[in-house]
Each structure stands twice: as C-alpha cells, then as structure tokens.
Symmetry: C2
Subunit: 139 residues, 2 copies
C-alpha cells in the first residue's frame, strides 16, 4: 500500500497538493479495506463534498494509487494498488464476498502476439479479470 509520503511526493511533482479533503478520502479508502465502491467512499467521508470525492478518486486513479476493477455485471469497484505492483497487473475477484486480489501476468505475451497476428491489431494494453471463489469462501 502506498504511503502518504509517497503520494504527496507524486502529487507535488505534478503540481498538485495533498490537501485535507484529499487526505480524508485517502484515509477513508484505506479504512474500507480490500475493495470499495465510489458510493462507500462518499458515505464514509460525509465531511467531504461529493464532487471532491470523485475528483480525488479520479486523481488517485491517474496516479496509479487506486485501480478500477470492473465486475462481471459491469459495475466498478476500486482498490488500493499494491505499491510493488503499481505497474501492470490484473485482478481475481471473488463473486461471493467481492474480495479482490492482484496478480502479475507474465504468461500472456504469446497469446497477445497470436491475437495481433490473427486480427491485424497492434496491441498496446490489455485487461484481464478472473472471477471465482476465494479460498475462504470456498471452504
């Protein structure tokens, strides 16, 4: 999980400030645990204006501090990014409890190449999401 110091440095490098509302939203997201919706963040930080909650979440997404996970039904859930996986990663989502776990994808390059060949596309990025049941929901 990215520390406040790291985030503050990233922000100021881009000309942004770590203000009190932003800090509140960040702390709220930390307090919400593994995954959370925009609505939950709003409800859990009532002292921050709705627009500011969304603005902050958008900003954090751009900075890679949180990442968006699209559930099977198309709704969006968010998650604090692991600091050591801030780069490129994917998600396994428990369809029972909603738990989200990250993983790095290394074995995908071959598949991407094959699809590029087959379709004529030049592939830039990809998104892979797995759905299933986590260890504790499974037992």
């Amino acid at each position: 999980m990215t520390t406040a110091d790291t985030i503050e440095r990233t922000l100021s490098r881009r000309g942004y400030r770590l203000t009190s509302p932003r800090r509140t939203v960040l702390d709220t997201m930390r307090g919400l645990g593994n995954h959370f919706t925009a609505e939950e963040v709003q409800h859990a930080s009532p002292e921050v204006g709705r627009a500011t909650v969304f603005r902050t979440m958008k900003l954090m997404r751009e900075l890679g501090v949180i990442c968006q996970v699209v559930l099977d039904d198309g709704t969006a859930v968010y998650q604090l990014a692991d600091e050591d996986r801030a780069d490129h990663h994917h998600h396994v989502i428990c369809t029972e409890c909603g738990r989200v776990t990250e993983f790095a994808s290394d074995g995908l390059e071959g598949e991407l190449e094959r699809v590029a060949d087959e379709t004529g596309f030049e592939i830039d990025t990809h998104r892979l999401e797995l759905y299933g049941r986590c260890a504790s929901c499974n037992s």
Copy 2:
C-alpha cells in the same frame, strides 16, 4: 452474425416472442455496424420506448446475441456476437476508431491455473480485453 430465424427459435424455446419492437431494436443494432452504445440504439429507434430498448438489449445479452465490451475507461459498448463464437470469446478494441473484433482464447488455461495456485481462488470465468490500433487505423 445471428440470423432473425435463429434468434426467433432461441426466444420461443425460452417462452419469449419476437415482437415488432424487438425486431426493430435488432435491426437497429445490425444497422449500427460493428459496435454501438445503448444511447445510439435508443436514438436510432425512436419509435420504440426507452425501457423496451434496454429490456431488449438485456434479453439479447442473456441469449448471447450481443455481448458487452468494457472500454479502457470503464464505459460499456455492445456488439453483435459472431454466431460461430457465441460461446466464450474476448475482444480486441481499437482505441482510435472503436472497432471491436472478437477472438477465441485457447492459450489461457495455463495462466489461469497458475493464478489459481498462487491466489487460492477457484476460477470460474474470466474476461480479457485487448486495446490497440486496428489494421486500417495503423496505416
């Protein structure tokens, strides 16, 4: 692309009817080409009620006639499914023109097994979306 006859059979097998509004929505989607949003379908079939447009699109999604594609920014786009790929497939999306192409994934099982091992999840389904530039946008 699935024919009206095939769709009608699928519907009636499930106790549904291929009514005139449904046919209109289907034709509209065909007319919109490779990919379309819910809004485009609505605007292009003004004689059909808004609720019916959504209901029909939901039904067609359940029947596998159309499939939902989540774009990089989280918005949803829809596409008529290839008849021969109605089962399980993924999408390559051109970030320039929006063109969506389907492909079947065969080389993913190993990766899925590895992630299951690593995370303790039991994987049921997955969603893979590739983003890039299609052949014509690339030239």
